[in-house]
């Protein structure tokens, strides 16, 4: 689910109103071991949360241990020194808390949701598994089955996932974004306890984390607990630098996936783009929305309502430490060929490149991002996730509150320019998922 989850985060590019959270409401400190902690006091409900953003994802893996970051996410629940196997969840739930986690190409994020009076217990539980995780051989074997099931049910129930995995594999031939976050089957089956131990020591180091706590808590209390529970955990050497850069693509790449039960073709197009934080980031995000957010967006209007080539279209741009992909995904109407859908989609891209977008479309994106921001800032969980995401990807959560100015800087000409720069055939990977086996014309 990692890719879908990140969708909501790309929309949060707007300013708060007087009553909503402001940058000055967030307090920050760094422990001596390098762990960064952000705190937002918010008494709207008697609950609080803790979000731990670890800078480790599938980009930190290499062939042989693909999927290890995600597997590790699972292992973090399986027992440590003080709270043995199963006790992390049992202890938290008995105190009224719940938790979850997700892994992306760049991050592993742990989320704890609890009544505010359980705050100290949460610190104790987290500190124990960060400092003293017990990596047990028997538990690893059972968890391999769970992850295999997660991988399998994703491929069974989601065409997007099935196609996404293949498209990434073709679009990247050097960079670790090439493999799926969940990893290759053969790696899931074969990584070793030593791989896991090394990974934990390297990446679950306090200097590799950003922690956000939001809800009915007091800053001074959080600071006291953080010092007591997290500060004694020693820092570790900086993890290895991921220096691999994807070589420039010199021509279109294509992939085809056969799945018998697909009722109409699915099409995914992916274009290489720079990392989050690049000067073109906002223009690309806005282009993605102009193309596919809402029924009045260009691709939905043209392909779904006018030409009736697609039943649905979406765009997707992950936040990313390294250069990544701009995705367009469309599902054909019954009876429409993948070729016809692709041609229709390419024509719409061409229109943006040649004629640009209107001022009205530009304003619509800005309005929509503002409302999306408010929706996210309605809950303590939305706040924690958003603040942490900006801290991690932009190096400063305040960037979240500077965004109106950044958006204002983007002109219609910028949108046209980024479309022209990145949405080129030579920079594209096209994936098709269909129910017929790929075959030569004479075999059909």
């Amino acid at each position: 689910m990692k890719s879908i989850l990140m969708l909501c985060l790309v929309l949060l590019l707007a300013t708060p109103a007087a009553k909503a959270t402001e940058a000055k409401d967030i307090q920050q400190f760094t422990l001596e071991n390098g762990m960064q902690i952000l705190v937002l006091e918010d008494d709207s409900i008697p609950n609080a949360n803790m979000y731990l953003f670890w800078k480790v994802g599938s980009r930190n893996e290499y062939p042989g241990i693909t999927g290890l970051s995600h597997f590790f996410e699972h292992m973090m629940f399986n027992g440590s020194e003080k709270y043995g196997p199963k006790m992390f969840d049992r202890t938290m739930e008995a105190a009224g808390g719940a938790n979850n986690a997700y892994t992306t190409e760049n991050l592993t994020v742990y989320t704890d949701w609890f009544p505010a009076d359980a705050l100290e217990l949460i610190f104790d539980l987290e500190a124990d598994r960060i400092a003293n995780l017990d990596i047990n051989a028997e538990v690893v074997e059972s968890e391999r089955g769970v992850v295999a099931s997660e991988r399998s049910t994703g491929l069974e129930n989601s065409n997007f996932r099935t196609l996404h995995e293949e498209v990434k594999g073709v679009a990247f031939r050097a960079h670790p974004y090439s493999w799926p976050v969940i990893g290759h089957d053969s790696d899931i089956a074969n990584w070793t306890l030593e791989d896991l131990r090394q990974y934990h020591k390297t990446y679950y180091a306090p200097n590799n984390a950003v922690v956000v706590i939001a809800g009915a808590v007091k800053f001074d209390e959080v600071k006291k607990l953080a010092r007591a529970y997290f500060e004694p955990i020693p820092a570790q050497p900086e993890p290895r630098n991921i220096h691999t850069k994807e070589p420039e693509q010199k021509g279109e790449r294509r992939t085809y996936v056969h799945k018998e039960s697909v009722t109409s073709p699915n099409l995914m197009m992916a274009f290489h783009i720079p990392p989050t934080g690049h000067q073109d980031y906002y223009a690309l995000q806005m282009l993605g929305e102009i193309l596919a957010k809402g029924n009045s967006s260009r691709l939905k209007q043209a392909l779904v309502f006018e030409q009736k080539l697609a039943t649905n279209v979406m765009s997707y741009i992950p936040e990313s430490f390294d250069a990544n992909l701009f995705y367009l995904y469309a599902i054909a109407t019954p009876g429409t060929s993948a070729e016809a859908l692709e041609q229709g989609l390419v024509e719409q891209i061409k229109l943006v490149i040649e004629q640009g977008v209107s001022e009205q479309e530009l304003q619509k994106v800005k309005n929509s991002q503002l409302v999306s921001f408010y929706r996210e800032m309605q809950t303590i969980n939305g706040k924690a996730n958003t603040i942490g995401t900006y801290q991690v990807y932009f190096g400063d959560y305040r960037e979240l509150f500077d965004l109106p100015a950044e958006l204002e800087k983007v002109s219609a000409a910028d949108i046209q320019r980024v479309a022209k720069t990145y949405l080129r055939k030579a920079n594209s990977t096209v994936g098709i998922l269909d129910n017929k086996e790929d075959s030569y014309a004479q075999d059909r």
Binding site: A20, S296, V304
Partner: protein
């Protein structure tokens, strides 16, 4: 993702169920009935400049003459209304970042709008137009019908998207609760504009409707605006009496749904449940938390944590007005199906064989209370709660007394409720997967019925 169980509780909260903590009370709200019979719920929430408004009409799939009628009627309201064509309607909304969604549920239909408070006048006018002045444009409806048919076909690609329909069909048989809420390919193909207009004329009446508005507004001004927009709406709804849901569970049955390219088996095991008005409703949710409602539940612990057979297993009650269902849901790779089903049944039997101890019960009580407040944090969630009051007739006591109701459950009461409500005999099972591989395995569990996942309609 580490786990899937949390989404279950969110789902329950969205439909009818909620959990409470002692310190958490429902914020103040107003309920009034206009002269034309329209019910209005208002709750001011000023944290962010947003408003959520949900129109709820007591007309759902149970009133369908053709499966999918309620769902398609609700959607047709957004295909052009008042002065605006569908495309203009969507452009106006998208421009201000507003969302409007419509849908038909089992027992009610809803149109829900979420928007910035500064756009209140504009969006409420559009909502009123959608509700009171739909155009029912033939061409737009035909196009929507084609999109809906495609969506129904696409749903058949995903076992988890359709398995609930098969379970309802197996369990409720001739009762309207067996209806496929979104319709099926056969019924949707035959749907005419007159079917939608007829459904609208019959059920979309002010005395059958509530509007729940939560967010950043002034209640007095809002009442005037709603009166101006909806006050002239006239008409009365004829009585609708839904019979009690008699569940067909005289013997164990297995419905095997063939999906030839499946790599795993997705299954539901269950039986009759309870109505929403059941006085033991809250207590049963606590007990179900122990069985299959949280990560450390017995089912998830056995099937996921101890054996690695699945990514997640859960159980739930689905309550309606005149009955309901209880079900266990999970999935596993095809060649592990027998092992997983046997372990599911064995774990379920612990409810009677081993029972619930005090420590486990205390943990579940703390859990449901602790996880309650975040379920009613947003204006959309609160508007949904108020709409649920209209459909099912509960009031704020349900929230405000929730902790007391949870606290009142003890080990003896839990034991007696298990005996009374959890179906033990003649379990009904649906398995979606590769029939050739699964037939000999699953036929052991009851009378076998077979069908295919890509049928035009469910017919057992």
């Amino acid at each position: 993702m580490h786990k899937i169980v949390n989404s279950l509780l969110a789902l329950l909260a969205l439909t009818t169920f909620s959990l409470s903590a002692a310190e958490f009370k429902l914020p103040a709200y107003e309920k009034l009935v206009l002269e034309n019979g329209l019910t209005l719920y208002l709750m001011e929430q000023k944290e962010v400049p947003l408003i959520d408004a949900i129109v709820t009409v007591k007309a759902g799939a149970v009133q369908d003459e053709k499966a999918g009628q309620a769902e398609m009627t609700a959607n047709a309201l957004l295909l052009g209304s008042g002065e605006l064509s569908r495309a203009e309607f969507e452009q106006h909304l998208d421009f201000v970042g507003a969302n409007i969604n419509a849908g038909g549920g089992m027992e009610a239909s809803q149109v829900a709008a979420s928007f910035a408070s500064k756009d209140e006048d504009k969006v409420l006018k559009m909502l009123a137009d959608a509700l009171l002045h739909p155009v029912f444009d033939e061409q737009e409806i035909r196009a929507y019908q084609q999109r809906h048919l495609a969506a129904l076909q696409q749903a058949q690609e995903s076992p988890k998207a359709v398995i609930g329909n098969y379970f309802n069909a197996l369990l409720f048989a001739e009762h309207p609760y067996a209806t496929e809420q979104s319709g099926n390919i056969a019924s949707v193909k035959t749907m005419q504009v007159t079917d939608l207009k007829g459904f609208y004329d019959k059920w979309y009446r002010p005395d059958n409707t509530a509007i729940s508005i939560v967010g950043d507004f002034d209640s007095d001004k809002m009442i005037s605006k709603i009166k101006a927009l909806f006050g002239q709406w006239q008409g009365q709804t004829e009585d609708f009496v839904l019979p009690l849901a008699e569940v067909k569970a005289d013997k164990a049955r297995v419905l095997l749904v063939d999906k030839p390219d499946a790599r795993e088996s997705t299954y539901i095991i269950g039986g009759p449940g309870i109505a929403r008005s059941n006085p033991d409703y809250v207590a049963l949710q606590v007990i179900n938390t122990i069985l299959g409602g949280r990560f450390t539940s017995w089912l998830n612990d056995e099937l996921r944590v101890n054996t690695g057979l699945t990514y997640g297993a859960r159980s739930s009650f689905q309550p309606y007005q005149k009955g309901g269902s209880f079900s266990i849901y999970t999935f596993t790779q095809t060649d592990k199906t027998k092992e997983a089903i046997d372990l599911t049944l064995k774990t379920y039997a612990r409810l009677w064989q081993q029972g619930i101890d005090k420590e486990t019960l205390d943990s579940a009580k703390a859990y449901v209370k602790g996880q309650f407040p975040p379920k009613y944090e947003t204006s959309g969630e609160l508007a949904g709660l108020l709409s649920g009051m209209f459909i099912y007739g509960y009031d704020e006591a349900f929230i405000n007394d929730f902790s007391d109701n949870v606290n009142a459950l003890d080990v003896d009461k839990a034991k007696s409720l298990v005996g009374q409500y959890f179906p033990q005999q003649h379990l009904q099972m649906v398995v979606v997967g590769n029939a050739e591989a699964l037939r000999p395995v699953v036929s052991e569990y009851g009378e076998l019925i077979e069908t295919k996942i890509d049928t035009q309609q469910i017919s057992l």
